[in-house]
């Protein structure tokens, strides 16, 4: 059985009268690259901050590594690395000096500094180069190095590719993809860029307006499909199908869609329409992509 690295249950948080998180629950398993997807302001960063105890919660529980309830202890923090919103460091110092400060505080071996610099490919940067003179990509790498310094069981990365060029995005993505396998680090990563998550995550949660709309494996999500039907009288066809207890997912002038319909049902629907003199000129199954699901769940469609 897979160990749970993180279990978030019924998390709620209000700020100045607005409910930012509404009963958020999610579970991250050991070895996962878990993508938390949502539009800007959906509640991704707040969820991550709650896990790191950087905000107070109104209600809910967070359990880590199958043993720590974060309300009772801070001990779990020594097994978590994080990069929240933007990489933070002292710009007047070099990368090594920055890492040394956190190494001292976290009380981890000094060797880790060289190791993480190698992992993020900053080992060849001149030792005396100050962080303020780094490019955005280098800063992002250094942010990940700071998060990795403890070689934590769980690393939390909040939009780690923000502002990077395509090459930088790819490099960071490749780096993150290596973490579970090579260093045994489970990754919780948030983003609003779907393609980025699609390429590395094995499990995802879609969050919208502070609510989890979907949680599961990417493979499961991609197994879902929708049946697209176009007829010579769409409104009559919709009425007819609804009378026969079919759930119409989406409807527009061109046609309408039904979710997750099996082959036998497709045949029944086709026969039903034809026997009622409705001319079907298009009927096909479309496999849902992550983008389709994301848009369906976040644009308010059923």
């Amino acid at each position: 059985m897979t160990n749970n690295i993180l279990e978030v249950n019924n998390l709620s948080k209000s700020f100045q009268g607005n409910r930012i998180l509404k009963d958020v629950s999610l579970t991250v398993h050991e070895g996962d690259i878990y993508g938390l997807l949502g539009k800007n302001g959906a509640g991704k960063s707040t969820t991550m901050k709650a896990i790191l105890k950087l905000i107070k919660l109104d209600s809910g529980t967070i359990k880590l590594f199958d043993q720590y309830n974060i309300a009772e202890t801070n001990a779990y923090l020594s097994d978590i690395g994080s990069l929240i919103e933007a990489p933070s460091f002292y710009p007047n110092l070099t990368a090594i000096e920055n890492l040394k400060i956190l190494q001292c505080l976290a009380d981890v071996p000094q060797d880790n500094i060289e190791k993480v610099l190698t992992i993020v490919d900053l080992q060849n940067v001149p030792k005396k180069k100050l962080v303020k003179n780094y490019s955005l990509g280098m800063k992002q790498r250094l942010g990940i190095a700071l998060a990795l310094l403890k070689f934590p069981k769980l690393i939390i990365l909040d939009e780690p590719t923000n502002g990077l060029d395509p090459k930088g995005v790819r490099e960071i993505r490749e780096l993150i993809a290596l973490l579970p396998e090579k260093y045994g680090t489970t990754v919780l990563i948030s983003s609003h860029i779907l393609s980025e998550i699609e390429k590395i995550a094995n499990r995802v949660a879609i969050i919208n307006n502070g609510q989890i709309k979907y949680e599961g494996s990417l493979a499961e999500l991609e197994k879902t499909s929708r049946l697209v039907i176009k007829t010579d009288n769409n409104s009559a066809a919709v009425r007819l199908l609804e009378q026969h207890q079919y759930l119409i997912n989406k409807q527009n002038e061109d046609g309408f869609e039904l979710n997750n319909i099996d082959r036998a049902t497709i045949i029944q629907i086709n026969q039903l329409l034809v026997t009622h003199d409705i001319g079907v000129h298009e009927l096909h199954v479309v496999k849902n992509s992550l983008e389709d699901m994301f848009l369906t769940m976040t644009e308010g469609a059923q």
């Binding site: 700020f15 707040t46 901050k49 790191l52 105890k53 950087l54 905000i55 107070k56 923090l77 020594s78 978590i80 690395g81 994080s82 929240i84 919103e85 933007a86 933070s88 460091f89 002292y90 710009p91 007047n92 110092l93 000096e97 040394k100 400060i101 956190l102 001292c104 505080l105 976290a106 009380d107 100050l130 700071l146 403890k150």
Partner: protein, 248 residues
């Protein structure tokens, strides 16, 4: 704690504000020295050039410069973390707000101690140069008062910088303190100065002018107690406050 202080030292490397602080200190020492030389060269002196005058001048000049010096020091060493969004990173790495505040206060106190030592050396140098002899305990009392005033002001300024977070507020307070001390030559009524922590160096002047005579301030002990008490309350309040607050 020692580890945390060393970390504060490391964080503040290569920062331009150190130059500003050194410049303020040089101007302060120069101002004090020149004012002593000027008095010495006057043909008709209002005051006798003795230990009382020397120590009164030292405290008065420090009253002008110390608030500005300390406000810049406090705001800059706090800003390095707040301006770079570091408190949350430190928190996740075993350093909470309270520990951060305490480390900064200790680091700031070390700098203030260095500033104080330079004042001690300057006074010694000027007294030797002008053949002024220290008798009794007045020199030690003045130096203790100066150090207490500096640390009391630092505790207040550090708390302002930590709680308000907009660093300009702390610097403006320091600037206001220096300005008021300069405009009044540190001679505001003591009751008023007790409510203005930026003026604590002026408040703790153990000497005062009374009808053109320099006399020992009879309220110095009560002033010392007030500064110590206010400083302690400010530190304890800030430690409680920083421990209590989370980011949102």
């Amino acid at each position: 704690m020692i580890k945390n202080i060393f970390i504060e030292v490391a964080k503040n490397r290569r920062r331009p504000f150190w130059l500003g602080l050194i410049l303020i200190m040089i101007v302060e020492v120069f101002w004090f020295y020149v004012s002593m030389i000027r008095t010495q060269s006057l043909p008709h002196k209002t005051f006798i050039l003795d230990q009382n005058y020397l120590l009164l001048m030292l405290m008065t000049v420090n009253g002008f410069f110390a608030p500005l010096f300390i406000s810049i020091l406090a705001s800059r060493i706090v800003a390095i973390d707040f301006d770079n969004d570091m408190p949350s990173v430190l928190r996740v790495n075993n350093q909470n707000h309270r520990q951060l505040y305490t480390a900064k206060l200790c680091f700031g106190s070390l700098i203030v101690l260095m500033y104080w030592l330079i004042q001690v050396m300057t006074v010694k140098y000027v007294s030797q140069n002008m053949h002024i002899v220290f008798t009794g305990h007045l020199f030690i009392i003045t130096m203790v008062c100066l150090l207490t005033g500096l640390v009391g002001t630092l505790a207040f300024q550090m708390s302002v910088s930590f709680i308000v977070e907009r660093q300009v507020v702390g610097i403006l307070l320091g600037l206001a303190g220096s300005f008021i001390a300069m405009m009044t030559s540190g001679m505001l009524p003591q009751t008023t100065m007790r409510f203005i922590p930026m003026l604590y160096v002026s408040l703790l002047n153990p000497l005062m002018l009374q009808a053109k005579t320099i006399v020992v301030n009879p309220s110095i002990l009560i002033n010392l107690f007030i500064v110590f008490f206010v400083g302690l309350v400010v530190v304890l309040f800030t430690e409680w406050y920083t421990n209590k607050t989370l980011e949102v």
